[in-house]
């Protein structure tokens, strides 16, 4: 179980980067994930540069193959980020959607 306190602290940071636009700097697609991400595999992960120059990582969702390229415009959305244990706190975080 992930510490609920860590999730709580993290969510205060998540709030600040929701609904922000940016461009994909670099991407990859993960085929062999760690335990917490097994059910989402395979999934793309992108490094995005936001309009304020801040850089954020996140999975790319609701995408087509053509969206996986450098420079593609994306927006940050709220999604579940890890497989919670059946009795653990749900971790919500940032993922990206092509604009």
């Amino acid at each position: 179980m992930i510490s609920p306190i860590k999730i709580w602290r993290r969510q205060k940071e998540i709030r600040k980067i929701l609904g922000k636009k940016g461009k994909i700097l670099v991407w990859t697609k993960i085929f062999t994930p760690g335990t917490d991400f097994k059910k989402y595999a395979p999934y793309p992960v992108v490094m995005v540069e936001l309009e304020n120059k801040e850089k954020i990582y996140g999975q790319l969702v609701d995408y087509e193959k053509e969206d996986l390229k450098t420079g593609r415009e994306v927006v940050s959305v709220l999604r579940k980020v890890r497989e919670p244990s059946i009795d653990g706190v749900i971790a919500y975080g940032v993922k990206f959607k092509p604009l």
Partner: protein
């Protein structure tokens, strides 16, 4: 006068067609479509839940207005698929939206009418002066057992309404609520999928309560079906709302715009509210709208709403947005719904 100040909706990108499901179970898809009047339904992604969808619809509602968030002192989250059995999603939602911390929040449950019931409570809190605004969300990632009729109808979606007393787009003229103990559709604690009473969900349940609630509102206000430009009913399938509209005396023209169930399915607490979305795309100043929800167990909330001149500046595109969709197949549907 209390009413709706702004609104927002969220429908996930994915759709599954009725025939895709019917083919798996060896059913004739034309028969299924004819009996349910549903072509396809909306399916949330594997990493979406009622909270993430509520955030999208609520963000949209708040983006239409420039208000001081500290004036939103009521946040109510209605769902049948709450992320937790115990832990309020309403505060998770409020926190992500930047609403803090002097506010009343709670999660509501009354099957598909959890959100409209909350609207009634919220308008009282605004009228009494406790709060200037109230944020109400109906959001569901509707579940249905495989090889059951609910599999074709249970869908995902969210609608959020910001209630207030100034700068309204819709005036809440009056409302009524009708309740009883009727076990037509239910889900026990710890059980994944809801169960239902088959044909019992019809006449003694859906129709009885909607008719009871609607007639009660008509009597109270002196309004008749003919006075309304649009009527919107809860949509468990494509047939029931058309039938109840007719039996109450509404014409097909009055209901045709609201039938989102045909192409989005039944998003439970967001169902009737979703029907309001295409209506607001075209409604004109002065139009009267009749909105009637139904929640199994059972009860119905009716509302008489009047469009103001402010709708024009806060109107949102709906039809174009929901047509940006992607079809998925049955195994992907099971994966997204975490059924496998």
């Amino acid at each position: 006068m209390v009413g709706i100040v702004s609104y927002g909706f969220y429908v996930p990108k994915y759709r599954i067609k009725t025939e895709e499901i019917a083919n798996v179970w060896g059913k004739n898809s034309d028969d299924v479509k004819k009996s349910l009047l549903i072509e396809e339904k909306a399916v949330a992604g594997i990493d979406e839940d009622s909270l993430t969808m509520a955030f999208e619809s609520a963000s949209s509602a708040l983006s239409s207005v420039n208000i001081d968030k500290s004036k939103i002192k009521v946040v109510l989250f209605g769902s049948e698929t709450h992320p937790y059995a115990v832990n309020p999603a309403s505060t998770i939602l409020a926190e992500f939206l930047g609403i803090e911390k002097n506010y009343l929040a709670y999660d509501t449950e009354f099957a598909c009418k959890a959100a409209t019931g909350a609207m009634i409570s919220a308008q009282g809190l605004i009228k009494s002066g406790y709060s200037d605004y109230a944020l109400i969300t109906g959001s569901d990632k509707g579940m249905g057992k495989t090889h059951d009729v609910l599999e074709y109808t249970a869908a995902s979606g969210s609608v959020s309404l910001l209630l207030g007393k100034n700068d309204l787009i819709l005036e809440l003229l009056d409302f009524e609520s009708f309740s009883s103990d009727t076990p037509d559709f239910w889900r026990r604690e710890g059980i994944r999928y809801p169960s239902h009473g088959g044909r019992f969900t019809g006449k003694p349940s859906y129709f009885y309560h909607i008719e009871g609630s609607a007639k009660s509102l008509f009597k109270k206000t002196g309004l008749k079906p003919a006075d309304f430009k649009y009527s919107i009913f809860h949509m468990p399938n494509g047939k029931f709302p058309i039938q109840v509209a007719k039996s109450l005396g509404f014409s097909p023209d009055q209901i045709k715009d609201s039938l989102t169930v045909n192409y989005l399915g039944n998003s439970y607490t967001a169902s009737a509210l979703m029907g309001l979305m295409p209506v607001l795309e075209k409604a004109k100043t002065g139009d009267l709208i009749f909105l009637c929800s139904y929640g199994s167990g059972a009860g119905s909330d009716s509302f008489a709403l009047r469009v103001t001149k402010n709708l024009q500046k806060r109107r949102k595109e709906f039809t174009k947005i929901v047509n940006d969709k992607k079809y998925i197949n049955y195994p992907t549907y099971l994966k997204y719904m975490e059924m496998i």
